[in-house]
Amino acid sequence: MASLKHLPAVKGAKVLMVGAGGIGCELLKTLALSGFQDIHIIDMDTIEVSNLNRQFLFRQSHVGQSKAKVAREAVLKFRPHISITPYHANVKDSDFNVDFFKQFNVVLNGLDNLDARRHVNRLCLAADVPLIESGTTGFLGQVTVHVKGRTECYECQPKPAPKTYPVCTITSTPSKFVHCIVWAKELLFAKLFGDKNQANDLNVRSSDGASSSKQAEDVFEHRKDEDIEQYGRRIYDHVFGYNIEVALSNEETWKNRNRPKPIYSSEFMPNDLSQQNGSMEKNGAANDISSVSAMASLGMKNPQDVWSLKENSRVFLEALKLFFLKREKEIGNLTFDKDDQLAVEFVTAAANIRAASFGIPLHSLFEAKGIAGNIVHAVATTNAIIAGLIVIEAIKVLQNDTKNYRMTYCLEHPTRKMLLMPVEPFEPNRSCYVCSETPLSLEINTHRAKLRDFVEKIVKATLGMSLPLIMHGSALLYEVGDDLDEEMVANYAANLDKVLSELPTPVTSGTMLTIEDLQQELSCQINIKHREEFDEEKEPDGMVLSGWTQAPSVVKDDNESIANAGSTSNEPPVEAEKNDEIEIPPEKKRRLSEVSEAVDPDLSSVDGDTRNPDKLQVLDDDDELMIFDNWDSVPNKKKRMQ
């Protein structure tokens, strides 16, 4: 790999970069310096202030502009004679089909979400173009090489489902701060400022369900003649006081738990309403929505401070008031956005008051924002290192230097003296439904489950298809597309509401379904097995998909985490939002004792129960053993590529 020897391969190459963010900026720069001359780059995002600490091709003056386009301009300043083609678009757009992908010699991912990664993986497989995949979080990162038929594809190991929490934990028995954040963001914020038609579990269900929920609906209505301060306090007293009292009345719940304390606004605020809470004058021009801030009107400055219960109560009431006075038009359409200052203030305060009620430690706005926005830690250095490693692998791919392909991990703590650890890629997983033809198998109650359940939970959520087509033999059961006529659309809509065994072509035990996504050119087969009963706790979806992973226990575990929505609701309560920046390094617990010379890690399996999807853990005492964030359990034996 002498500097100049690679030039012919690099000069003639046409490469596609997906993502112009943290990794993307570094990658585009490094590709240009390394002599690449034909680079296409797709990114749907625009530039934000919090990008500027690491996405060094962007400046304050670029905020709001297309990342792909600005990145191109910036790189042309030091390499003016190369061709960079930007697309300010979603990589999932139908323009970027298999033919589009086929024009490239290699595809380089610098993405921030699982969905797009899976999509690109499938298109690369369909177009038979090598893919180099990457991700970073804090000081950790990894680069992997995926070449069809030769190395494992991005999906050969199942990916973790977004983190979800059981509904009852969120609504009734929070034990961690994150539960309070979820409650504040997904339930309270959504109830007060979001779409009124959305189902919402905010109110505590009492035994006489129907009537009390009717009453509760009215509680959240802002009556026309009602003073806004009065309204705020009424909401406060209802959710932090009354609802807790109702919950306390259910003795069964508190047998083995600490009882929460109801909190009423009168504890902190004199009832005299003439005492203004904040001074609105400090809130800039009324038409500048982004500057509306409860912290500003209360004269609070440091987002790192942990507020007292009284301060949280003041922020809560002030933020609520500001929404109604300054942003009334948006009420009914708001969803939580981590870049919406007032929303972050409201959610922080509400989560903290609830935390206080349940005896959970309070957190600063800065911390709360990180949790609520699923903000991933990101620094420039790791992205730069990862970009360098991507280019090194890209050059090997272009030279067809297959023996030297490596997956490389960038570590925070050295392992066997290594901070950058190369590992030989693994062979494709022969039971991977994405890159092999092995059928999957689905246990489902064919007399009870509707086609809709199957489409939503299996085809879309688990298999990640966006434009699916479902066939039973030659009969079409369902399809999505722009070119369908009305009759077909009506037909498919009717099918969705039928149980499987009552479809025009009945799906019963032993049926083999073919599922295709025309855009991804992915096709897989599912063998249906009827099963009467499912464990409500462990299998709340009422379906068990298997065959994808090798170890049966792993499959079960995987399904459980996907369906971890709890058993009290039909709706998954919380779905982690897309990461702002990157995926967590997909690592498995690997014994690295053999790595030093031969790069020969001996794999050991993971005990499913020790998994902690929130934290990257390193066992300090034994530097031969590392546990990364396990997004999946590792089959006992994986073969390395030969």
Partner: protein
Amino acid sequence: MDGEELTEQETALYDRQIRVWGAGAQRRLSKAHILVCGITGTIAEFCKNIVLAGVGSLTLVDDRAVTEEALSANFLIPSDENVCAGKTLTELCRDSLKDFNPMVRVSVEKGDLSSFGAEFYSKFDVVVVSCCSFTTKKLINEKCRKLSKRVAFYTVDCRDSCGEIFVDLQHHKYSKQKREEAIECELHYLSFEESISVPWKALPRKFSKLYFAMRVIERFEEAEQRKPGELSIADLPAVVKLKKELCEAQSLNESHIPNVLLERLVTDTREFPPVCPIIGGILGQEVIKAISGKGDPLKNFFFFNAMDGKGIIEDVSGKT
């Protein structure tokens, strides 16, 4: 110093990295002064990283003119001749770096490194030296060590697809997270001269081959009065001869310094562009760790070789 708060602007700009290293570390970074001697592609990467991270100031020293080689791996130099006219290499880099983060003071200092006295070096918390002779590295390191304040010293070199970082933090106290609690640690470093004087025989058995190869090249350039990197394939026989002599004197098996590795290092002395962000990234992280006093710092050599893809830490402590 922890009493001072970050400004609203800093909090917004540095949000993602404060989540990695904390507000205290961010405050310490904003008060740190960094000196960089010798502009290379790797140094350009390093400078970008610490300017983005939000250090207090960065001072650049390098009197060389803009050459084709300087351009080859350096994204800080615009290709527009009108912009470049009349400016030195360091001035062009300074202008680009300032643009990356207006909150960091970036400046240029002219003059010969070896002529700068103690007073000059005492203005800095971190000194990074690149593409300097062996003698200059030792000299600057000694000057830093004699100061009453502690200055973190680094050398960084990248040849072909190999890179080396040397670290001297003298006596470094820091904290690290162990499970839930922060524990206090302390490390003692050897100077550059002390480190490279450790007998090769005393080094661990599987020590990085790159370490020895770099020492051979260093000696060769010194003996021949060459500037760093002023080598070609024509020098290989003489370099191999020197290797033999050194191995004999140090009782090291010659196989520890493969001739193919030496050949690479003398043939392609330019930086391989994708290696620059890797070495510059590791160096950036290390400097941030040293300033913030958080996390285990590297002790005391780091090697990266794109051929095997390993990034290895070697501790030359003289203890076996």
